[in-house]
Protein backbone atom coordinates (compact mmCIF):
# COMPACT_ATOMS: atom_id res chain seq x y z
CA UNK A 1 0.00 0.00 0.00
CA UNK A 2 1.21 3.47 -0.78
CA UNK A 3 0.02 6.77 0.56
CA UNK A 4 0.34 10.18 -1.01
CA UNK A 5 2.40 12.43 1.28
CA UNK A 6 -0.12 15.23 0.81
CA UNK A 7 -2.33 13.30 3.22
CA UNK A 8 -0.01 14.26 6.09
CA UNK A 9 -1.04 17.85 5.36
CA UNK A 10 -4.63 17.33 4.24
CA UNK A 11 -5.72 15.01 7.06
CA UNK A 12 -4.87 17.35 9.96
CA UNK A 13 -6.36 20.25 8.01
CA UNK A 14 -9.65 18.51 7.39
CA UNK A 15 -9.81 17.41 11.03
CA UNK A 16 -9.10 20.98 12.13
CA UNK A 17 -11.83 22.36 9.86
CA UNK A 18 -14.45 19.85 10.96
CA UNK A 19 -13.47 20.08 14.61
CA UNK A 20 -15.04 23.49 15.15
CA UNK A 21 -18.39 21.84 14.52
CA UNK A 22 -17.83 19.14 17.15
CA UNK A 23 -16.52 20.85 20.25
CA UNK A 24 -17.14 17.98 22.64
CA UNK A 25 -14.70 15.44 21.27
CA UNK A 26 -11.97 17.90 20.36
CA UNK A 27 -9.24 16.01 22.22
CA UNK A 28 -10.03 12.84 20.38
CA UNK A 29 -9.57 14.68 17.09
CA UNK A 30 -6.11 15.82 18.07
CA UNK A 31 -4.81 12.50 19.33
CA UNK A 32 -6.42 10.49 16.54
CA UNK A 33 -5.23 12.94 13.91
CA UNK A 34 -1.63 12.89 15.01
CA UNK A 35 -1.57 9.09 15.38
CA UNK A 36 -3.16 8.72 11.95
CA UNK A 37 -0.42 10.93 10.56
CA UNK A 38 2.28 8.69 12.02
CA UNK A 39 0.56 5.77 10.34
CA UNK A 40 0.44 7.57 7.00
CA UNK A 41 4.13 8.42 7.20
CA UNK A 42 5.00 4.73 7.30
CA UNK A 43 3.34 4.18 3.93
CA UNK A 44 4.95 7.06 2.07
CA UNK A 45 7.34 6.12 -0.69
CA UNK A 46 10.10 8.34 -1.94
CA UNK A 47 9.42 10.28 -5.10
CA UNK A 48 7.97 13.43 -6.53
CA UNK A 49 4.28 14.15 -6.05
CA UNK A 50 2.53 16.70 -8.22
CA UNK A 51 -0.29 18.97 -7.06
CA UNK A 52 -3.19 19.40 -9.44
CA UNK A 53 -1.40 17.41 -12.13
CA UNK A 54 0.82 20.27 -13.32
CA UNK A 55 4.44 19.46 -14.10
CA UNK A 56 7.15 20.68 -11.66
CA UNK A 57 8.45 24.09 -12.52
CA UNK A 58 4.89 25.35 -13.01
CA UNK A 59 2.82 23.50 -10.46
CA UNK A 60 3.65 22.90 -6.82
CA UNK A 61 5.42 19.66 -6.10
CA UNK A 62 6.07 17.66 -2.94
CA UNK A 63 9.61 16.36 -2.85
CA UNK A 64 9.95 13.15 -0.80
CA UNK A 65 13.50 11.92 -0.40
CA UNK A 66 15.12 10.06 2.49
CA UNK A 67 15.89 13.38 4.15
CA UNK A 68 12.25 14.44 4.16
CA UNK A 69 11.07 10.96 5.10
CA UNK A 70 13.26 10.54 8.21
CA UNK A 71 12.49 14.08 9.35
CA UNK A 72 8.80 13.49 8.81
CA UNK A 73 8.90 10.29 10.83
CA UNK A 74 10.72 11.80 13.81
CA UNK A 75 8.57 14.93 13.76
CA UNK A 76 5.25 13.11 13.58
CA UNK A 77 6.20 10.57 16.27
CA UNK A 78 7.34 13.31 18.64
CA UNK A 79 4.22 15.34 17.93
CA UNK A 80 1.88 12.40 18.50
CA UNK A 81 3.63 11.54 21.77
CA UNK A 82 3.24 15.14 22.91
CA UNK A 83 -0.46 15.27 22.09
CA UNK A 84 -1.04 12.09 24.09
CA UNK A 85 0.79 13.54 27.10
CA UNK A 86 -0.77 16.97 27.21
CA UNK A 87 -4.29 16.51 25.89
CA UNK A 88 -5.59 18.52 28.84
CA UNK A 89 -3.36 21.50 28.13
CA UNK A 90 -4.11 21.47 24.45
CA UNK A 91 -7.85 21.25 24.97
CA UNK A 92 -8.60 24.76 23.74
CA UNK A 93 -5.96 24.57 21.05
CA UNK A 94 -6.75 21.36 19.21
CA UNK A 95 -7.39 23.05 15.88
CA UNK A 96 -4.30 25.22 16.19
CA UNK A 97 -2.14 22.21 17.04
CA UNK A 98 -3.51 20.18 14.14
CA UNK A 99 -2.81 23.07 11.79
CA UNK A 100 0.67 23.42 13.27
CA UNK A 101 1.26 19.75 12.50
CA UNK A 102 0.03 20.18 8.93
CA UNK A 103 2.21 23.25 8.44
CA UNK A 104 5.35 21.58 9.81
CA UNK A 105 4.79 18.58 7.53
CA UNK A 106 4.29 20.95 4.63
CA UNK A 107 7.50 22.80 5.46
CA UNK A 108 9.47 19.58 5.27
CA UNK A 109 7.77 18.20 2.17
CA UNK A 110 7.29 21.11 -0.16
CA UNK A 111 9.46 21.60 -3.22
CA UNK A 112 8.32 25.13 -3.96
CA UNK A 113 9.79 28.25 -2.41
CA UNK A 114 6.60 30.28 -2.20
CA UNK A 115 4.64 27.33 -0.85
CA UNK A 116 7.33 27.14 1.83
CA UNK A 117 6.58 30.77 2.71
CA UNK A 118 2.87 30.02 3.08
CA UNK A 119 3.58 27.10 5.40
CA UNK A 120 6.09 29.23 7.29
CA UNK A 121 3.37 31.78 7.98
CA UNK A 122 0.85 29.16 9.06
CA UNK A 123 3.40 27.54 11.35
CA UNK A 124 4.39 30.91 12.80
CA UNK A 125 0.82 31.99 13.58
CA UNK A 126 0.10 28.56 15.11
CA UNK A 127 3.23 28.85 17.23
CA UNK A 128 2.23 32.31 18.40
CA UNK A 129 -1.19 31.07 19.46
CA UNK A 130 0.39 28.11 21.24
CA UNK A 131 2.89 30.43 22.94
CA UNK A 132 0.13 32.79 24.03
CA UNK A 133 -1.50 29.97 26.00
CA UNK A 134 1.05 30.74 28.71
CA UNK A 135 -0.91 33.98 29.30
CA UNK A 136 2.20 36.14 28.82
CA UNK A 137 0.78 38.07 25.95
CA UNK A 138 3.46 40.67 25.49
CA UNK A 139 6.07 37.93 25.05
CA UNK A 140 3.90 36.23 22.46
CA UNK A 141 3.46 39.61 20.75
CA UNK A 142 7.22 40.05 20.61
CA UNK A 143 7.48 36.63 19.02
CA UNK A 144 4.86 37.66 16.50
CA UNK A 145 6.67 40.87 15.56
CA UNK A 146 9.93 38.97 15.19
CA UNK A 147 8.42 36.30 12.99
CA UNK A 148 6.62 38.87 10.82
CA UNK A 149 9.89 40.73 10.23
CA UNK A 150 11.50 37.37 9.45
CA UNK A 151 8.88 36.35 6.94
CA UNK A 152 9.03 39.78 5.30
CA UNK A 153 12.75 39.30 4.75
CA UNK A 154 12.13 35.80 3.41
CA UNK A 155 9.51 36.98 0.92
CA UNK A 156 11.68 39.91 -0.16
CA UNK A 157 14.60 37.59 -0.85
CA UNK A 158 12.33 35.12 -2.59
CA UNK A 159 10.87 37.69 -4.97
CA UNK A 160 14.35 38.95 -5.84
CA UNK A 161 15.30 35.38 -6.70
CA UNK A 162 12.17 35.09 -8.82
CA UNK A 163 13.10 38.26 -10.66
CA UNK A 164 16.52 36.86 -11.40
CA UNK A 165 15.68 33.26 -12.22
CA UNK A 166 12.01 33.40 -13.16
CA UNK A 167 10.97 30.34 -11.20
CA UNK A 168 9.78 29.34 -7.75
CA UNK A 169 10.53 25.63 -8.01
CA UNK A 170 13.41 24.50 -5.80
CA UNK A 171 14.96 22.02 -8.23
CA UNK A 172 14.86 24.38 -11.19
CA UNK A 173 16.12 27.24 -9.04
CA UNK A 174 19.10 25.09 -8.05
CA UNK A 175 19.96 24.28 -11.66
CA UNK A 176 19.72 27.90 -12.74
CA UNK A 177 21.76 29.05 -9.76
CA UNK A 178 24.48 26.52 -10.54
CA UNK A 179 24.62 27.87 -14.06
CA UNK A 180 24.85 31.55 -13.09
CA UNK A 181 25.17 32.26 -9.36
CA UNK A 182 26.22 35.89 -9.85
CA UNK A 183 24.03 38.61 -8.38
CA UNK A 184 21.98 36.38 -6.10
CA UNK A 185 23.92 37.05 -2.89
CA UNK A 186 21.63 39.78 -1.55
CA UNK A 187 18.56 37.61 -2.00
CA UNK A 188 20.22 34.62 -0.34
CA UNK A 189 21.30 36.72 2.64
CA UNK A 190 17.78 38.12 2.97
CA UNK A 191 16.30 34.62 3.00
CA UNK A 192 18.89 33.49 5.52
CA UNK A 193 18.05 36.39 7.82
CA UNK A 194 14.35 35.66 7.45
CA UNK A 195 14.79 32.07 8.51
CA UNK A 196 17.36 33.00 11.17
CA UNK A 197 14.52 34.47 13.22
CA UNK A 198 12.82 31.09 13.33
CA UNK A 199 15.96 29.04 13.95
CA UNK A 200 17.03 31.38 16.74
CA UNK A 201 20.29 32.80 15.40
CA UNK A 202 21.80 35.33 17.74
CA UNK A 203 20.93 38.90 16.80
CA UNK A 204 17.43 37.79 15.84
CA UNK A 205 16.68 35.49 18.76
CA UNK A 206 15.43 38.08 21.23
CA UNK A 207 12.01 36.46 21.31
CA UNK A 208 13.26 33.05 22.46
CA UNK A 209 13.88 34.03 26.05
CA UNK A 210 10.43 35.48 26.60
CA UNK A 211 8.63 32.53 25.08
CA UNK A 212 10.67 29.65 26.48
CA UNK A 213 11.76 31.04 29.87
CA UNK A 214 8.39 30.22 31.34
CA UNK A 215 7.49 27.34 29.05
CA UNK A 216 5.42 24.51 30.47
CA UNK A 217 5.42 20.87 29.41
CA UNK A 218 3.39 21.80 26.33
CA UNK A 219 4.99 24.98 24.98
CA UNK A 220 8.55 23.89 25.75
CA UNK A 221 8.77 20.70 23.67
CA UNK A 222 6.57 22.23 20.98
CA UNK A 223 8.38 25.52 20.34
CA UNK A 224 11.77 24.56 21.75
CA UNK A 225 12.19 21.14 20.20
CA UNK A 226 9.71 20.34 17.44
CA UNK A 227 9.52 23.80 15.85
CA UNK A 228 13.24 24.40 16.21
CA UNK A 229 14.02 21.06 14.61
CA UNK A 230 11.59 21.50 11.73
CA UNK A 231 12.86 24.99 10.92
CA UNK A 232 16.40 23.71 11.00
CA UNK A 233 15.47 20.93 8.58
CA UNK A 234 14.09 23.60 6.24
CA UNK A 235 17.33 25.52 6.59
CA UNK A 236 19.28 22.36 5.74
CA UNK A 237 17.12 21.79 2.70
CA UNK A 238 17.48 25.33 1.37
CA UNK A 239 21.18 25.81 1.97
CA UNK A 240 22.29 22.40 0.75
CA UNK A 241 19.87 21.41 -1.99
CA UNK A 242 18.68 24.73 -3.37
CA UNK A 243 20.87 27.77 -2.99
CA UNK A 244 24.36 28.11 -4.33
CA UNK A 245 26.14 30.34 -1.86
CA UNK A 246 29.34 32.11 -2.78
CA UNK A 247 32.35 31.59 -0.46
CA UNK A 248 32.29 35.20 0.75
CA UNK A 249 28.65 34.99 1.77
CA UNK A 250 29.28 31.63 3.41
CA UNK A 251 32.01 33.21 5.51
CA UNK A 252 29.74 36.10 6.49
CA UNK A 253 26.89 33.83 7.52
CA UNK A 254 29.26 31.43 9.28
CA UNK A 255 30.47 34.29 11.46
CA UNK A 256 26.86 34.94 12.44
CA UNK A 257 26.47 31.27 13.35
CA UNK A 258 29.72 31.29 15.33
CA UNK A 259 28.60 34.34 17.30
CA UNK A 260 25.41 32.47 18.10
CA UNK A 261 27.34 29.39 19.19
CA UNK A 262 29.65 31.28 21.50
CA UNK A 263 27.04 33.68 22.81
CA UNK A 264 24.51 30.94 23.47
CA UNK A 265 26.94 28.79 25.39
CA UNK A 266 28.13 31.76 27.42
CA UNK A 267 24.58 32.75 28.34
CA UNK A 268 23.74 29.17 29.25
CA UNK A 269 26.86 28.88 31.39
CA UNK A 270 25.88 32.04 33.17
CA UNK A 271 22.34 30.93 34.01
CA UNK A 272 21.04 29.35 37.20
CA UNK A 273 17.64 28.30 35.93
CA UNK A 274 16.96 24.99 34.27
CA UNK A 275 14.78 26.26 31.43
CA UNK A 276 17.07 29.18 30.71
CA UNK A 277 20.01 26.83 30.42
CA UNK A 278 18.00 24.66 28.05
CA UNK A 279 16.89 27.51 25.84
CA UNK A 280 20.34 29.08 25.59
CA UNK A 281 21.93 25.73 24.88
CA UNK A 282 19.29 25.32 22.17
CA UNK A 283 20.33 28.66 20.68
CA UNK A 284 23.98 27.60 20.76
CA UNK A 285 23.19 24.24 19.19
CA UNK A 286 21.33 25.90 16.34
CA UNK A 287 24.43 27.99 15.73
CA UNK A 288 26.47 24.81 15.44
CA UNK A 289 23.93 23.20 13.14
CA UNK A 290 23.86 26.23 10.84
CA UNK A 291 27.64 26.25 10.78
CA UNK A 292 27.68 22.64 9.60
CA UNK A 293 24.96 23.23 7.02
CA UNK A 294 26.72 26.25 5.55
CA UNK A 295 30.05 24.51 5.35
CA UNK A 296 28.61 21.56 3.50
CA UNK A 297 28.51 18.82 6.14
CA UNK A 298 24.97 17.88 5.25
CA UNK A 299 24.89 14.35 6.67
CA UNK A 300 26.44 15.33 10.00
CA UNK A 301 24.18 18.34 10.42
CA UNK A 302 21.15 16.19 9.65
CA UNK A 303 21.90 13.61 12.33
CA UNK A 304 22.78 16.40 14.79
CA UNK A 305 19.45 18.13 14.11
CA UNK A 306 17.43 14.97 14.71
CA UNK A 307 19.28 13.91 17.85
CA UNK A 308 19.14 17.44 19.29
CA UNK A 309 15.46 17.57 18.56
CA UNK A 310 14.88 14.39 20.57
CA UNK A 311 17.16 15.41 23.42
CA UNK A 312 15.64 18.86 23.76
CA UNK A 313 12.17 17.36 23.57
CA UNK A 314 12.87 15.08 26.55
CA UNK A 315 14.52 17.83 28.57
CA UNK A 316 11.90 20.51 27.94
CA UNK A 317 9.12 18.03 28.68
CA UNK A 318 10.66 16.96 31.98
CA UNK A 319 11.55 20.51 32.99
CA UNK A 320 7.92 21.47 32.44
CA UNK A 321 6.76 18.68 34.74
CA UNK A 322 9.49 19.53 37.28
CA UNK A 323 8.30 23.14 37.45
CA UNK A 324 4.74 21.92 37.88
CA UNK A 325 5.74 19.73 40.81
CA UNK A 326 8.38 21.87 42.53
CA UNK A 327 7.08 25.31 41.63
CA UNK A 328 10.52 26.55 40.61
CA UNK A 329 13.28 25.84 38.14
CA UNK A 330 16.15 27.44 40.03
CA UNK A 331 18.73 24.68 40.18
CA UNK A 332 19.77 25.45 43.74
CA UNK A 333 16.30 24.55 45.03
CA UNK A 334 16.09 21.30 43.12
CA UNK A 335 19.09 19.46 44.54
CA UNK A 336 18.60 15.74 44.87
CA UNK A 337 15.40 15.78 42.86
CA UNK A 338 16.28 12.78 40.73
CA UNK A 339 16.93 10.55 43.75
CA UNK A 340 13.20 10.23 44.21
CA UNK A 341 12.64 9.94 40.45
CA UNK A 342 15.39 7.65 39.18
CA UNK A 343 13.85 6.71 35.83
CA UNK A 344 12.98 10.21 34.76
CA UNK A 345 16.36 11.27 36.09
CA UNK A 346 18.00 8.73 33.84
CA UNK A 347 16.08 9.95 30.81
CA UNK A 348 16.98 13.58 31.54
CA UNK A 349 20.63 12.65 32.11
CA UNK A 350 20.90 10.69 28.89
CA UNK A 351 19.36 13.50 26.88
CA UNK A 352 21.56 16.12 28.53
CA UNK A 353 24.77 14.16 28.07
CA UNK A 354 23.91 13.41 24.48
CA UNK A 355 23.25 17.11 23.87
CA UNK A 356 26.60 18.00 25.39
CA UNK A 357 28.32 15.29 23.37
CA UNK A 358 29.73 12.98 26.02
CA UNK A 359 30.96 9.47 25.20
CA UNK A 360 28.45 6.60 25.06
CA UNK A 361 25.83 8.89 23.54
CA UNK A 362 25.06 9.70 19.97
CA UNK A 363 26.09 13.33 20.37
CA UNK A 364 29.65 12.24 21.07
CA UNK A 365 30.16 10.59 17.75
CA UNK A 366 28.63 13.49 15.92
CA UNK A 367 31.01 15.95 17.53
CA UNK A 368 33.94 13.61 17.02
CA UNK A 369 33.13 13.38 13.34
CA UNK A 370 32.71 17.12 13.05
CA UNK A 371 36.10 17.78 14.60
CA UNK A 372 37.80 15.07 12.58
CA UNK A 373 36.33 16.30 9.32
CA UNK A 374 37.22 19.90 10.02
CA UNK A 375 40.77 18.95 10.94
CA UNK A 376 41.08 16.93 7.76
CA UNK A 377 40.06 19.91 5.69
CA UNK A 378 42.88 21.90 7.31
CA UNK A 379 40.80 24.43 9.13
CA UNK A 380 41.93 24.82 12.71
CA UNK A 381 40.24 27.85 14.18
CA UNK A 382 36.78 26.41 13.61
CA UNK A 383 37.41 23.07 15.40
CA UNK A 384 39.12 24.95 18.21
CA UNK A 385 36.03 27.08 18.81
CA UNK A 386 33.73 24.08 18.56
CA UNK A 387 35.91 22.16 21.00
CA UNK A 388 35.95 24.98 23.54
CA UNK A 389 32.21 25.58 23.33
CA UNK A 390 31.59 21.84 23.66
CA UNK A 391 33.72 21.84 26.79
CA UNK A 392 31.74 24.74 28.23
CA UNK A 393 28.50 22.97 27.36
CA UNK A 394 29.76 19.76 28.97
CA UNK A 395 30.66 21.64 32.13
CA UNK A 396 27.32 23.32 32.66
CA UNK A 397 25.33 20.25 31.62
CA UNK A 398 27.25 18.09 34.08
CA UNK A 399 26.94 20.77 36.75
CA UNK A 400 23.18 20.83 36.28
CA UNK A 401 22.75 17.08 36.14
CA UNK A 402 25.06 16.33 39.06
CA UNK A 403 23.24 18.95 41.10
CA UNK A 404 19.92 17.32 40.31
CA UNK A 405 21.28 13.91 41.39
CA UNK A 406 23.00 15.51 44.44
CA UNK A 407 26.09 13.35 44.47
CA UNK A 408 27.76 15.25 47.28
CA UNK A 409 28.32 13.81 50.76
CA UNK A 410 25.17 15.04 52.44
CA UNK A 411 22.41 13.16 50.73
CA UNK A 412 18.98 14.63 51.14
CA UNK A 413 15.76 13.44 49.65
CA UNK A 414 13.48 16.20 48.47
CA UNK A 415 10.61 13.77 48.26
CA UNK A 416 9.16 15.71 45.35
CA UNK A 417 7.60 13.42 42.77
CA UNK A 418 8.01 14.98 39.35
CA UNK A 419 4.68 13.51 38.34
CA UNK A 420 2.22 13.04 41.14
CA UNK A 421 1.60 9.32 41.79
CA UNK A 422 -2.16 9.86 41.70
CA UNK A 423 -1.96 10.57 37.99
CA UNK A 424 -1.03 7.06 36.94
CA UNK A 425 -1.78 7.35 33.24
CA UNK A 426 0.37 10.43 32.73
CA UNK A 427 3.06 8.92 34.91
CA UNK A 428 3.44 5.81 32.81
CA UNK A 429 3.11 7.69 29.56
CA UNK A 430 5.84 10.17 30.48
CA UNK A 431 8.08 7.40 31.74
CA UNK A 432 7.60 5.35 28.61
CA UNK A 433 8.12 8.17 26.14
CA UNK A 434 11.13 9.79 27.76
CA UNK A 435 12.81 6.45 28.45
CA UNK A 436 12.30 5.20 24.91
CA UNK A 437 13.74 8.41 23.48
CA UNK A 438 16.74 8.43 25.79
CA UNK A 439 17.36 4.73 25.20
CA UNK A 440 17.32 5.46 21.49
CA UNK A 441 20.05 7.99 22.05
CA UNK A 442 22.11 5.44 24.00
CA UNK A 443 21.53 2.72 21.41
CA UNK A 444 22.54 4.98 18.56
CA UNK A 445 25.46 6.04 20.71
CA UNK A 446 26.59 2.44 21.00
CA UNK A 447 26.01 1.73 17.30
CA UNK A 448 27.03 4.99 15.70
CA UNK A 449 27.87 3.34 12.39
CA UNK A 450 24.21 2.60 11.83
CA UNK A 451 23.08 6.14 12.53
CA UNK A 452 25.87 7.64 10.47
CA UNK A 453 25.10 5.27 7.60
CA UNK A 454 21.47 6.30 7.65
CA UNK A 455 22.36 9.96 7.64
CA UNK A 456 24.85 9.43 4.87
CA UNK A 457 22.19 7.66 2.85
CA UNK A 458 19.75 10.48 3.41
CA UNK A 459 22.17 13.27 2.65
CA UNK A 460 24.87 11.43 0.71
CA UNK A 461 23.65 12.45 -2.69
CA UNK A 462 23.01 16.01 -1.64
CA UNK A 463 24.84 18.03 -4.22
CA UNK A 464 26.82 20.25 -1.92
CA UNK A 465 27.71 17.49 0.54
CA UNK A 466 31.38 17.08 1.11
CA UNK A 467 32.53 13.44 1.23
CA UNK A 468 32.59 13.32 5.01
CA UNK A 469 34.61 10.48 6.39
CA UNK A 470 32.73 8.80 9.14
CA UNK A 471 34.26 7.59 12.36
CA UNK A 472 32.26 5.05 14.24
CA UNK A 473 32.99 2.25 16.66
CA UNK A 474 34.76 0.38 13.90
CA UNK A 475 37.53 2.82 14.56
CA UNK A 476 39.46 5.07 12.32
CA UNK A 477 38.37 6.73 9.16
CA UNK A 478 36.46 3.88 7.65
CA UNK A 479 34.49 3.44 4.45
Amino acid sequence: MQMNPVLTIALPLILAFTKIMYRRIANLFLVLGSLLNVLVVFFIKEGQYLMGGYAPPFGIVLQVDAYALYSLLVLNVLFAALTILVTKKAENLTSSSLIALAALNGLILTGDLFNLFVFLEIAAIAAIIIASSSKRYHHAFHYMVASIIGSTFYLLGLILLYKQYGTLNMAKMHELMLASPGGSSVAVILIFVGLAVEVKLMPFSGWVKGVLKNADEWIGPMIGAIYGGAMMIVMGRLFTDVFVVSPKVTLLLSILALVTLVGGEAAAYDSEKMREILLYSGVAQSGLEILLILNGYAALSFILILSNMMAKYVMFLLSGYIVNAAGTDVLGDLKGLFRSNPFLGFAFTAAGLSLAGLPLFVGFFIKLNILYNLMMSHSYWLPAIILITSLVEGIYMLRMILGLWQTGLEVQETGIQIISPSNIKTKYAVHAITLILSLAMVVFGLMPDYALDLAQKARGNAVADKPAMMIGMKGGPGQ
Binding site: V118, I125, I129, H138, A140, Y162, L168
Partner: protein
Protein backbone atom coordinates in the same frame (compact mmCIF):
# COMPACT_ATOMS: atom_id res chain seq x y z
CA UNK B 1 11.36 54.29 -9.43
CA UNK B 2 8.39 52.33 -8.15
CA UNK B 3 10.77 49.71 -6.78
CA UNK B 4 12.76 52.27 -4.80
CA UNK B 5 9.61 53.88 -3.39
CA UNK B 6 8.07 50.59 -2.31
CA UNK B 7 11.35 49.42 -0.78
CA UNK B 8 11.55 52.67 1.18
CA UNK B 9 7.98 52.14 2.37
CA UNK B 10 8.87 48.62 3.47
CA UNK B 11 11.86 49.65 5.52
CA UNK B 12 10.06 52.69 6.89
CA UNK B 13 7.50 50.28 8.27
CA UNK B 14 10.24 48.08 9.65
CA UNK B 15 11.82 51.11 11.31
CA UNK B 16 8.54 51.86 13.02
CA UNK B 17 8.14 48.25 14.06
CA UNK B 18 11.58 48.19 15.67
CA UNK B 19 11.63 51.59 17.36
CA UNK B 20 8.03 52.02 18.57
CA UNK B 21 6.79 50.29 21.68
CA UNK B 22 3.15 51.21 21.51
CA UNK B 23 1.24 48.14 20.35
CA UNK B 24 -1.15 49.96 18.00
CA UNK B 25 1.66 51.97 16.42
CA UNK B 26 3.52 48.72 15.89
CA UNK B 27 0.50 47.22 14.15
CA UNK B 28 0.23 50.26 11.86
CA UNK B 29 3.95 49.95 11.06
CA UNK B 30 3.41 46.27 10.34
CA UNK B 31 0.75 47.16 7.79
CA UNK B 32 2.92 49.82 6.19
CA UNK B 33 5.66 47.22 5.87
CA UNK B 34 3.33 44.69 4.28
CA UNK B 35 1.97 47.24 1.81
CA UNK B 36 5.51 48.20 0.84
CA UNK B 37 6.38 44.57 0.26
CA UNK B 38 3.25 43.93 -1.80
CA UNK B 39 3.90 47.00 -3.95
CA UNK B 40 7.47 45.88 -4.45
CA UNK B 41 6.39 42.42 -5.59
CA UNK B 42 3.89 43.78 -8.12
CA UNK B 43 6.41 46.33 -9.36
CA UNK B 44 8.79 43.51 -10.28
CA UNK B 45 6.14 41.97 -12.50
CA UNK B 46 5.22 45.20 -14.28
CA UNK B 47 6.33 46.36 -17.65
CA UNK B 48 5.39 49.51 -19.52
CA UNK B 49 2.53 49.19 -22.06
CA UNK B 50 1.78 45.56 -21.19
CA UNK B 51 -1.79 44.56 -20.41
CA UNK B 52 -3.44 43.22 -17.28
CA UNK B 53 -3.39 39.41 -17.54
CA UNK B 54 -7.14 38.97 -18.10
CA UNK B 55 -8.67 37.87 -21.38
CA UNK B 56 -11.74 39.88 -22.31
CA UNK B 57 -13.75 40.74 -25.39
CA UNK B 58 -11.51 43.78 -25.90
CA UNK B 59 -8.21 41.92 -25.51
CA UNK B 60 -9.22 38.42 -26.56
CA UNK B 61 -5.98 36.64 -27.42
CA UNK B 62 -3.21 35.09 -25.37
CA UNK B 63 -0.72 36.23 -28.01
CA UNK B 64 -0.91 39.83 -26.75
CA UNK B 65 1.69 41.18 -24.34
CA UNK B 66 0.60 40.75 -20.75
CA UNK B 67 2.41 41.67 -17.54
CA UNK B 68 3.76 38.85 -15.40
CA UNK B 69 0.73 37.31 -13.65
CA UNK B 70 2.66 35.28 -11.06
CA UNK B 71 3.76 38.18 -8.78
CA UNK B 72 0.15 39.38 -8.77
CA UNK B 73 -1.10 36.05 -7.53
CA UNK B 74 1.68 35.91 -4.95
CA UNK B 75 0.60 39.34 -3.75
CA UNK B 76 -2.96 38.08 -3.44
CA UNK B 77 -1.75 35.37 -1.09
CA UNK B 78 0.48 37.76 0.80
CA UNK B 79 -2.37 40.28 1.28
CA UNK B 80 -4.57 37.62 2.82
CA UNK B 81 -1.76 36.52 5.11
CA UNK B 82 -1.34 40.17 6.11
CA UNK B 83 -5.04 40.41 6.96
CA UNK B 84 -4.75 37.31 9.14
CA UNK B 85 -1.70 38.50 11.04
CA UNK B 86 -3.24 41.94 11.55
CA UNK B 87 -6.35 40.36 13.04
CA UNK B 88 -4.27 38.29 15.47
CA UNK B 89 -2.14 41.32 16.35
CA UNK B 90 -5.25 43.39 17.09
CA UNK B 91 -6.56 40.61 19.30
CA UNK B 92 -3.21 40.71 21.14
CA UNK B 93 -3.58 44.48 21.52
CA UNK B 94 -7.04 44.04 23.03
CA UNK B 95 -5.80 41.34 25.37
CA UNK B 96 -2.69 43.25 26.43
CA UNK B 97 -4.80 46.32 27.21
CA UNK B 98 -7.23 44.24 29.24
CA UNK B 99 -4.45 42.56 31.22
CA UNK B 100 -2.07 45.44 31.87
CA UNK B 101 -4.20 48.54 31.38
CA UNK B 102 -1.73 50.04 28.92
CA UNK B 103 -0.57 49.47 25.37
CA UNK B 104 2.99 50.59 25.97
CA UNK B 105 5.24 47.54 25.93
CA UNK B 106 8.08 49.36 27.68
CA UNK B 107 5.83 50.23 30.60
CA UNK B 108 4.65 46.64 30.81
CA UNK B 109 8.18 45.30 30.87
CA UNK B 110 9.20 47.89 33.46
CA UNK B 111 6.38 46.78 35.70
CA UNK B 112 7.32 43.09 35.67
Amino acid sequence: MMELLSLSLLFLGMYGLITKHHVLKMIVSMNVMEIGLNLFITSLGYQESHLAPILSSKFPSSALNFVDPLPQSLVLTSIVIGVGTTAVALAFAKKIYMDYGTLDLEKIEGRL
